[in-house]
């Protein structure tokens, strides 16, 4: 029972479910999250921020007349401050339970929150964000990157600090927790996608099955190839090759750590592999979405699945899905279907980490390091299972189930949309903080100084030699031609 409150994984689940639970109060006619900050594409700063209660979902004519929303007239700065205080309190409780230094955490989080939000704001500037069809009068050009450009701005800002002001990055380290933030975001995202899924249940089923099929393929093919190359051509020992194969081919940090534990590697091995994974995921994040847009202009779902299969770490993968959906925003397919596809693929990958680590543990204990009396308990699968995945499926299924039940009642469906819109504010903020903190931990110079060129060589050969391209082929095979209405 204690474990339920002692890991970052569990606390991502609890916080995500807490925000989700608050949002569901809307179903009872009371909006508890309408004060959250909503950021719009802006040309003058006074248009940039407003409470989410002013968003379209809250003005739906189908909402019941007695629906209570008190926050529409809040000034943007108050809404933003309330959002900050809420996140500070909730995350500090988690930090306390995780045994972190709470005052230090709160200080670091404050800097991370405001810096991340500033980046998000910059990314929403009209000349950066506005798509050609949404340019306001007087604006004759814009990059058309949508507000998701804020993610890239946050990543670049984090990278600048991480590489040119490493002292500051160290001072922020207590709250530099990209995996925690993205896992929390993914739990909240489940509900947001659940209401989207009702629009096309056949497509939802197809994404779930095809996502599962795609990752099963990727696991079996990627891992074996990377392991073989690392062992045969780069002469790595088994202790290095297995975590490296999992890190490069499957899911980055979590997979490298789970594999390291499964084969009883020394802690230095998964730690080094993880550092490398984070660096390369940043590189992927910066170019793969744009490559996807260039080579798959008519296949947005293939592009989305590709991000889930090719980009390592939860943060970078789901984040690249968000950027990709921004780049494809003018496509006929609803952009949220793309985010659902990337997230589903990524979440299934996470589910399989535990199973694959278990398989490797069996091979190592009963085959490679065979010793009398040693055994691998099946409970290891549960121990290595990423718990936030439960939160994701729970919020997805609850909202999807409610949406199915409310299908005949526009009033209740409208309140459900308000609920998911309110919680989505926090999902976006967790995303932005993920990008910023990924940048903070990506110290290219330090990694180079540590002399891990040989590891990096395997990574480059595998990632750019076949992982990305096999991922593209598998995505194309399972998602080509999917055109949601």
């Amino acid at each position: 029972m204690k474990d339920w409150f002692k890991s970052e994984d569990w606390w991502a689940t609890w916080i995500g479910l807490f925000v989700f639970g608050l949002s569901l109060a809307a179903l009872g006619g009371v909006d508890l999250l309408g004060w959250g900050i909503d950021t719009r594409v802006w040309s003058s700063l006074d248009q940039a921020t407003a409470p989410i209660a002013t968003a379209e979902a809250y003005s739906n004519k189908d909402l019941p007349p007695d629906f209570i929303c008190l926050y529409k007239s809040l000034p943007g700065i108050i809404s933003l401050s309330l959002t900050y205080v809420f996140l500070l309190l909730v995350l500090s409780v988690g930090a306390w339970a995780l045994g972190l230094n709470v005052p230090r955490f709160a200080g670091s989080l404050t800097v991370i929150f405001w810096a991340s939000y500033l980046c998000w704001l910059v990314g929403n500037y009209v000349y950066i964000a506005a798509t050609p069809n949404r340019r306001p009068p007087g604006v004759t050009w814009s990059l058309g990157l949508t507000g998701e450009a804020g993610f890239i701005v946050a990543l670049l800002a984090g990278l600048v600090i991480g590489n040119f002001a490493p002292g500051m990055a160290v001072r922020l380290s207590e709250a530099t927790r990209p995996e925690w933030y993205i896992k929390t975001a993914i739990v909240i995202l489940g509900g947001f996608l659940g209401v989207q899924a009702i629009g096309d249940t056949r497509l939802t089923q197809a994404i779930l099955f095809r996502g599962f099929a795609a990752i099963l393929e990727a696991y079996l093919i990627y891992w074996a190839l990377v392991y073989f190359i690392a062992r045969r051509f780069f002469r790595f020992s088994r202790e290095w090759a297995a975590p490296l194969a999992s890190g490069i081919s499957i899911c980055g940090v979590s997979a490298a750590i789970a594999t390291g534990a499964a084969i009883r590697a020394r802690p230095i091995v998964p730690v080094m592999v993880s550092s490398l994974v984070v660096i390369f995921s940043v590189v992927e994040l910066l170019f793969l979405p744009f490559l996807a847009q260039a080579i798959l202009p008519d296949d947005p779902m293939v592009a989305a699945a590709w991000m889930g299969l090719a980009v390592k770490t939860d943060g970078a993968a789901v984040a690249s899905g968000a950027i990709t959906q921004g780049l494809f925003q003018n496509q006929s397919s609803g952009p949220n279907w793309m985010l659902m596809t990337t997230t589903t693929v990524k979440v299934f990958i996470d589910v399989f980490i535990g199973i694959w680590a278990f398989v490797l543990a069996l091979v190592w204990v009963y085959g490679i390091n065979k010793k009398e009396g040693q055994h691998v308990p099946a409970a290891d699968i549960w121990q290595r299972f990423p718990k936030f995945v439960i939160g994701y499926f729970l919020t997805f299924l609850v909202v999807f189930g409610l949406a199915l039940a409310f299908r005949a009642s526009p009033e209740r469906l409208a309140t459900l949309r308000v609920a998911t819109t309110g919680s989505n504010v926090f999902r976006v903020l967790f995303f932005v903080m993920t990008f910023f903190t990924i940048g903070l931990v990506s110290n290219f110079k330090k990694l180079w100084q540590e002399g891990i060129g040989r590891l990096a060589a395997v990574y480059v050969v595998s990632l750019f030699g076949f992982v990305i391209w096999i991922g593209l082929a598998i995505s194309w095979l399972f998602f080509h031609g999917m055109r949601p209405s």
């Binding site: 096309d200 056949r202 497509l203 089923q205 197809a206 099955f209 095809r210 099929a213 099963l216 393929e217 696991y219 079996l220 093919i221 891992w223 074996a224 190839l225 392991y227 073989f228 062992r231 045969r232 002469r235 790595f236 020992s237 088994r238 290095w240 230095i268 080094m272 091979v363 085959g367 490679i368 100084q449 540590e450 002399g451 891990i452 040989r454 590891l455 598998i474 095979l477 399972f478 031609g481 999917m482 055109r483 949601p484």
Partner: protein
């Protein structure tokens, strides 16, 4: 810390591929290749969402 990791990588022992490792690689690849066909068929047969041409 820097030299330690560099040294660590220099010290990696040369371990030839064991038969069980070869088997793991082979089984994984063969299973992956065969399932590719099966899962693709299930996808297009039972989870087809491509609009008709």
């Amino acid at each position: 810390m820097a030299p330690e990791i560099g040294d660590e990588l220099q010290r990696i022992p040369d371990e030839p591929l064991l038969p069980i490792e070869k088997k793991l690689i082979l089984v994984s690849l063969v299973l992956g290749a065969s399932l590719l066909g099966v899962l693709w068929w299930v996808s297009v047969t039972y989870f087809n969402v491509t609009p008709p041409e």
